[in-house]
Point group: C2
Chain length 427, copies 2
């Protein structure tokens, strides 16, 4: 088949076809249509030279059917894909094509997942409602803190910091994405000691408190660590989903039918391929794959923190994780979605946050968010407990419609945090 | 700790430290040293604001110690890492840092892996010698072909194409990275039928022939498929290592102690993060992680085919996979290596090759390579068997030091291939 057989401007795909929105920048010497045809060919059933193809095979060809300002939609017959196999789907629509000489840059911006694919994935076990029921928190953002320094503390130091964080008012203590089971802080000892302190914190505060230990490792070891967490009475595990990978995430999700843990997904490594708007794969596609496979919480950025996350990107990610249906929105470069029975995922806002930034975060996210503040708690001038209290006070202020400055007048912890991070002048 | 505490120009790291070579491009408003300090901080034990750190924690700080033309070397204390845990190591040195606002672009170019890390990984089970013993081929490149069209054939059509490929003279039949277990071609039926044809082809040719079925899927399913291959008498499995991910690859390698299969690694998705020389993670680091975890064969590009793979990159990858020790080579942006007992990995050259390109490929790779020709076999004007024969003839010609044109005079299949792909004029 010639490349141009993979281009049919004006073709109307059926709702059963999977659709990709690509930004295509042809290399020198290639026309737009030729570059697009080669992308559609390589990602479906074509190759670089003509070979004999039967009518049956021809039915599996992808078709580029719509183009606007360098963006193109390509429709893929659903039978190209193995149902429920995320690595296979990504190897097709996000595989060799990024390296083709025919394209100078290629970006997979978004995907429409047809019902025949959506139905073959489990989706979140708990979702937003399940998380809220576990924490018994209804109408405010949930809060989490990574004890800092993020690596280097012993299990005793770690569990003590966790206790201070909890009693200060934060709901969840989270491991750093770099903390697994290093020599200075072995996994099982840390989980045991931290969960013991959790009981103490719950007793003293009368609130539900949770701990999210990072189980990222070889798949078998991850399962062992997840089982250990459950056996020790934990409700949560955390996974670095991109450095672990989709095959192992699917495995953990399978096993989670009995483990019944809440899966917190960290996205370390994503910016290696999501950050350049002209090339690679967008975070939207990562979020969609994560909702399909079935994480309960996912990091999506802050807009205002230390990590690059533009407002439009974050707005699109919030929709992808929380809504059931989305209509095509070319401003956000979003295709239609219909997640059917797949539960919504709680977005996590994390990276360089402190109490002074919480009003902006809540303006962007509303209340259905997990706000993760690490350095902005541990760096509080009066210590961890005061840092945690300041976070909770900032959320209270926003919920009551009071400005942070005003609320800080009668809330010393918040006041001191705002001073420290330059939001009000020290008295 | 202040960012600048992570910068110590002139510091001499010990051979026990892990070293990363980064290309750092600061964002507007950040000095080079500040951007570098933030990268070293975020990827080790720092955070964005100052928090209390003990002396013990301070020992885990990374140190930027050498800079040249935008490139910087950062040394990481080995105790930062969990031995044998590839996801954890990558979450540290290739995690959040790519998304930091302080850098406009950040590229992880290469890694020096200290003995204390190298020793904790298994490396290849078979390596180049094991592969050669299995195929009983000593002093020439090995050859493989993906039956094309790469998706859409039934198991019967697939196994028949495989037979033709083998009897034509190719050593190995390989699945496409997109072919796993779709409706049109279920995994087990394909493997059964193809391995049956393999016996026939071996009987007729008197040569050893192999088949590499693609097991990429959820980890548990991958293991089942690997077991099925072994039970059916296969020696090889193929994995899309990046869309499956490092945790599952480690799991397959663990299980491979008993399965004893040759692991063929495809790199679909890599160019999403390796292609931009200013940002992301280089293919060198992927190749190093793959050798550590223990694949036996890995795709590294062709230089001359359809996929972008510059000569310098391929040259560096060949060294990484095949050599035991490498001295720092700043022209190739390579740090020192000492793989100790880790066996060498067979590089695979694949993507848009045909017989006319084989002399160039062999000039680059020598004989220790698996040359994968798909369309360049299946697209032969006289059919698959002639296409396979032409590949073998091209390798013979190079081995004998005869030009393809000259060799083609008495080798019809090669002659017809060279005509088809424009290397000689049709008679």
């Amino acid at each position: 088949m010639n490349y141009l057989e993979f281009v049919e401007w004006g073709y109307k795909p059926s709702p059963d076809e999977l659709i990709c929105l690509f930004r295509v920048e042809p290399s020198h010497g290639f026309s737009f249509d030729e570059a697009v045809g080669r992308v559609a060919s390589e990602s479906s059933n074509g190759t670089w030279t003509e070979v004999f193809v039967s009518e049956e095979v021809r039915k599996l060809s992808a078709k580029a059917y719509e183009k606007t300002n360098g963006y193109v939609k390509i429709a893929y017959p659903v039978n190209l894909f193995e149902p429920g196999n995320m690595p296979q789907i990504l190897s097709s629509i996000a595989g060799n094509i990024f390296g083709m000489k025919a394209v100078a840059n290629l970006r997979l911006e978004d995907v429409y997942w047809p019902p025949k694919i959506v139905e073959t994935f489990k989706g979140p076990k708990h979702g937003i409602n399940g998380v809220r029921e576990t924490l018994k928190v209804k109408n405010r953002p949930l809060t989490a803190t990574v004890p800092k320094p993020k690596v280097g503390m012993t299990p005793d130091e770690h569990s003590w910091a966790a206790y201070e964080i909890w009693v200060g008012g934060v709901d969840i203590v989270k491991d750093d994405e770099n903390l697994t089971s290093q020599r200075f802080n072995r996994f099982k000892e840390r989980v045991e000691k931290t969960l013991r302190m959790r009981e103490k914190a719950e007793g003293e505060t009368g609130e539900r408190k949770c701990y999210m230990p990072n189980i990222s490792a070889e798949t078998g070891e991850m399962i062992k660590r997840a089982e250990a967490v459950r056996d020790l009475g934990g409700e949560y595990v955390m996974i670095d989903i991109l450095t672990c990978g989709w095959a192992s995430l699917q495995t953990i999700r399978e096993r989670n039918e009995e483990l019944n843990l809440i899966l917190h997904a960290h996205r370390a490594f994503h910016a290696a391929f999501t950050r350049n708007p002209k090339h690679g794969m967008s975070m939207k596609v990562v979020a969609e794959a994560a909702r399909l496979v079935g994480v309960d919480q996912l990091h999506v950025g802050t807009v205002v923190g230390k990590l690059e996350s533009p407002l439009k990107d974050v707005a699109a990610l919030i929709k992808i994780l929380r809504e059931e249906k989305i209509n095509e929105n070319m401003d956000l470069k979003l295709l239609n979605k219909n997640w059917q029975k797949l539960k919504p995922v709680l977005p996590v806002s994390s990276g360089g946050l402190h109490p002074g930034l919480i009003p902006e975060v809540m303006k962007i996210f509303g209340v259905n968010v997990l706000i993760q503040v690490g350095g902005g708690v541990l760096g509080h001038p009066d210590g961890v407990r005061s840092g945690a209290a300041a976070v909770r006070q900032a959320i209270e202020a926003v919920s009551k419609g009071i400005s942070l400055k005003e609320y800080a007048v009668n809330h010393k912890e918040l006041s001191r945090a705002l001073e420290k991070w330059g939001y009000i002048k020290p008295k």
